[in-house]
Amino acid sequence: MTKTVFWGVLAAAGVAAGMVSANTLDDVKARGELICGTNTGLVGFAAPDANGRYEGFDVAWCRAVAAAIFGDPEKIEFKPLTTTNRFTALAAGEVDLVVRNTTWTFTRDVDLKLDFVGVNYYDGQGFMVPKELGVTSARELDGATVCIQKGTTTELNLSDFFRANNISYEPVPIETNAEAQQQYLAGACDVYTTDASGLAATRASFEAPGDHIILPEIVSKEPLGPLVRHGDSDWADLVRWVHNALLAAEELGVTSANIEELSASTENPEIARLLGTEGNLGEMLGLSADWAKNAIKAEGNYGEIFEKYIGEGTPIGLARGLNAQWTEGGLQYAPPFR
């Protein structure tokens, strides 16, 4: 009898371990926390602070999703991922979503079976060089040694850019941003190339940021955004609409400061639907009515998150540019909540 039970349990455990779960939301709820894949360390986007707590622009998306599900942005576990293992970790179910300045491309979306749910930062690839080299354009980089993160779209763009301009270069493949920083500062490579936002963030952490310039050429489109596994559309919907909620909140003027007041007494029906005082949008996602309110309360709306971590008031100092709301001439545009 005991033996039968033992084998039965073992078999059941094995089958359970072997299944790719089709319902991520149920798994997350049962686990009691969200597992979010993020950067191993890129100041402003995702990096542990002095107390080891992950903070940053990308991290804010993870916390917003956790808050939408549990009403608590702290019910979350972060898994630092490198450029080389991020997709494998997501496909294998080690993480529920990845928010790790990852570029949305056709092959990643279609062939790698990932689902990008939106664009939280419109970026482009740039080049950073020490000022003393006297380089003013990326086209002058013939023969330069270039540090590049392995397995990224930047690696492909770099190859294309140098081919198109018929100039040569020596790639130095590296694994993490920290490693690139070490090699670049020691002069083991002349140029560091990655997304312009990443360059700004990296430069901000240098001792003498003024000694380095970011060249004017932006050689690619790099729409960065959160992504989930292909095959669970409900989960993709949830993450997509948390993202949209952060965008809509900025457009509608909902901030972490006035959200309580607005949810108690708003006349605007779209704000009421967003914050769950009217309609049943939350129920449709399988969440509570105040899901979006919790998500926005976690770190603020899109504009607040931007200003807090990477905006012009921070050492990283990125302008809104393409990432302004569509009403301000930017590209950020949330579909209607109805």
Binding site: G14, D142, T145, P171, P173, Q182, R229, H230, G231
Partner: protein, 417 residues
């Protein structure tokens, strides 16, 4: 009353499979075999099912798609429009390069250190002990990363060589040590014979082939000279001096060939951002090569020491009695016998070094793990295929190495007749 010797009644019963010692072991083996096979089947079926559910059935066609990325160290021609398969081949050759050079250096250092550890000079023996203990007790990845960090931080940047009063200068105006690697002079031929394609996979330099052919012919001539000296020694008891003959038949034809080909050295020179020309040993290669070699050499030193100690003291005493000097005793009497003890564990060290070379990923050396299992995997998203292929390739390399050395072992081991 039944007698004790009465044979048991009835035929075969199922319970005998467990309780009868004649059948029990067979039963256990069959049950275990079935269990193992079904576990393997279950794992395989599960993988296939899950991949199908993800919409990613196993598919190797990505290997023929353009790789789209560049590789810095290439032993054969490659550009970003070549296929993933060719990128994997470039990586494989880089793996083999560092493995072969690593095995050679590790053996040389290991034998020297192993012999010196037995030295009667207290200081030399202790220094070697410290070397062995330091290297074999720290994980090799740390040595690789440390070597890389030292190369990057300690050596000058190429731009330090610039200007009227440069902070750094080249050794003999020929060798440049920079934190991107070492630039050496390269052999060039003004009247080169050109290259021939090898099955369309890569080109072989005819100059190199000609040099190898001349060298091989020289080796054969040296052996003939040696045999002649042997004959004369056996007949007259005097061995003729042959070293100048040997040197002549090896060096002269090579020098003549080099002169015919118009051999000269191409020196590296500062051009733009980097040195141009010359042979460029990247710092990732140097770090990996040195760290792997020195690490493995520590183990080989212990194997060599063990092999020497295993030879009975009587052998060296007998050699001394015959009037052999210590270094000849070592070379002619001790080492040949010690080899029998040394070879088998040495093979496993070579295998270790080859497999450890996959730690190249720590310093960005583009070996097989950097290409096929690194960037190609990442760009194509074919995790399982890339991992299985890489495992197969490493398995094949290891089997070839152990096969070759087992053959060698057959030759040197004690012949029992």
């Amino acid at each position: 009353m039944a007698t004790v010797s009465e044979p048991p009644q009835g035929g075969f019963r199922l319970s005998q499979l467990i309780y009868d010692t004649r059948y029990r072991s067979m039963t256990i083996q069959i049950v275990t075999l079935i269990g193992v096979l079904s576990l393997i089947y279950w794992l395989g079926a599960n993988v296939a099912y899950n991949l199908a559910a993800l919409g990613k059935p196993i598919d190797f066609t990505f290997l023929w798609a353009p790789a789209n990325y560049d590789i810095n160290q290439m032993l054969i021609k490659y550009d970003s429009q070549d296929s993933h398969a060719r990128a994997a081949l470039v990586g494989l050759l880089n793996t083999l390069l560092v493995a072969v050079l690593g095995c050679v250096l590790a053996t040389v250092v290991g034998v020297i250190v192993g012999v010196l550890r037995l030295s009667s000079n207290w200081l030399v023996a202790r220094v070697m002990t410290v070397y062995v203990e330091a290297f074999r007790n720290v994980p090799v990845l740390l040595w690789i990363v440390l070597a890389m960090a030292i190369l990057i931080e300690a050596l000058p940047q190429p731009r330090d060589f610039r200007g009227d009063d440069p902070a750094a200068s080249m050794l003999f105006d020929a060798v440049a040590f920079t934190n991107r690697g070492i630039y050496l002079p390269e052999p060039l031929f003004t009247r080169s014979l050109g290259e021939v394609p090898f099955f369309g996979i890569f080109d072989i330099s005819l100059d190199l082939l000609a040099l190898l052919a001349v060298l091989a012919a020289g080796m054969l001539a040296v052996r003939a000279i040696g045999r002649r000296a042997e004959r004369i020694q056996n007949a007259t008891g005097d061995r003729p001096t042959t070293w100048y003959l040997s040197l002549g038949v090896i060096a002269l034809p090579v020098l003549v060939l080099l002169a015919l080909l118009g051999f000269h050295l191409g020196y590296p020179e500062l051009k733009g951002f980097n040195f141009a020309g010359g042979i460029y040993l990247r710092n990732s290669f140097i770090a990996l090569w040195l760290a792997l070699s020195l690490y493995t050499a520590a183990f080989i030193a212990e194997i060599v020491r063990g092999g020497i100690i295993a030879i009975s003291k009587g052998q060296s005493e007998a050699a001394a009695a015959l009037g052999l000097r210590p270094n000849r005793t070592m070379r002619l009497v001790i080492l040949p016998q010690a080899l029998r003890v040394i070879i088998p564990p040495l093979i496993s060290q070579y295998l270790n070094l080859t497999k450890n070379s996959s730690l190249a990923i720590g310093v960005g050396y583009m070996d097989l793990t950097g290409t096929l299992m690194g960037t190609s995997l990442n760009l194509s998203g074919r995790e399982l295929e890339c991992v299985m292929l890489t495992m197969l390739i490493y398995l094949a390399i290891s089997l070839v190495i152990s096969g070759v050395f087992n053959l060698y072992n057959q030759r040197v081991k004690l012949k029992e007749r």
